[in-house]
């Protein structure tokens, strides 16, 4: 299980290949990529800045990976989350889960993203033609997380 929080962009192909080739018992590789949209709440987005809590982010993301590994039969997982200033079409986050079969890998990948959205300490600030504004948390994200609470 790996977590990386970084300003630099990432190469999806390289990251997937690395995880896929690491273990010959892998039969399924599921990934999610989040990218910066050009419109939010009706306004064109110029830039998106990701702030985080450096001391806590790594620990919070590792805790999510550990929880996923306990709940599903998966082999490995990777979370790469970028911080700093980004623009529309830039990649923000990558989650990859490997497993013997697709079912658990799909579910674990969705679980990791739903928990990341609601419990990892990142905050988005966007600039539009009206100036800067902090992005509001979405109730739909809490609902997505609630689906997994046992």
């Amino acid at each position: 299980m790996t977590v990386r929080v970084q300003a630099e962009d990432f190469d999806i192909g390289q990251e997937l290949s690395k995880l896929r080739l690491a273990n010959s018992s892998i039969g399924a590789l599921v990934s999610f990529v989040g990218q910066v949209r050009d419109v939010n709440d009706g306004d064109a987005i110029n830039t998106l800045t990701l702030e985080h809590y450096p001391g806590m982010t790594q620990k919070a993301l590792e805790a999510i990976e550990i929880e996923a590994k306990m709940r599903w039969n998966i082999i490995d997982s990777l979370i790469v989350h970028r911080v700093g200033i980004m623009q529309p079409l830039d990649q923000i986050v990558l989650v990859v889960v490997s497993g013997a079969h697709r079912g658990d890998a799909f579910r674990a990948c969705e679980f990791i993203m739903d928990y990341l959205k609601t419990s990892a300490p990142f905050w988005k600030k966007e600039t539009t033609s009206h100036g800067e504004r902090w992005v509001e948390a979405k109730i739909s994200d809490d609902a997505a997380k609630a689906r997994w609470i046992k």
Partner: protein, 85 residues
């Protein structure tokens, strides 16, 4: 009891700094009590910590609820609901 307090995102911008050391009076030992104590500073502090805004807390890098206990030497962080991903 001495603790370290960190602020993030819009809360950091509102108070205009990111970290401070606080020597808490006796009896303030939960997140709720600390929020109420900060709200007594007035102005923006009252607006932030009087309970009308959702302010999440972490103690020593773990998300906690408002009933959680604060101990000497803890790092307590306050921030709005997260919006990563």
């Amino acid at each position: 009891m001495k603790i370290k307090v960190l602020y993030f995102s819009r809360i950091k911008e509102a108070v205009n700094y990111s970290t401070e050391d606080i020597d808490l009076p006796a009896g303030i030992s939960t997140v709720t009590a600390l929020k109420n104590y900060l709200a007594l500073r007035g102005d923006i502090w009252t607006n932030l910590f009087n309970g009308k805004q959702v302010v999440r807390a972490a103690i020593n890098h773990t998300l906690v609820d408002d009933l959680s206990t604060i101990n000497a030497g803890d790092e307590v962080a306050f921030f709005p609901p997260v919006t990563g991903g």
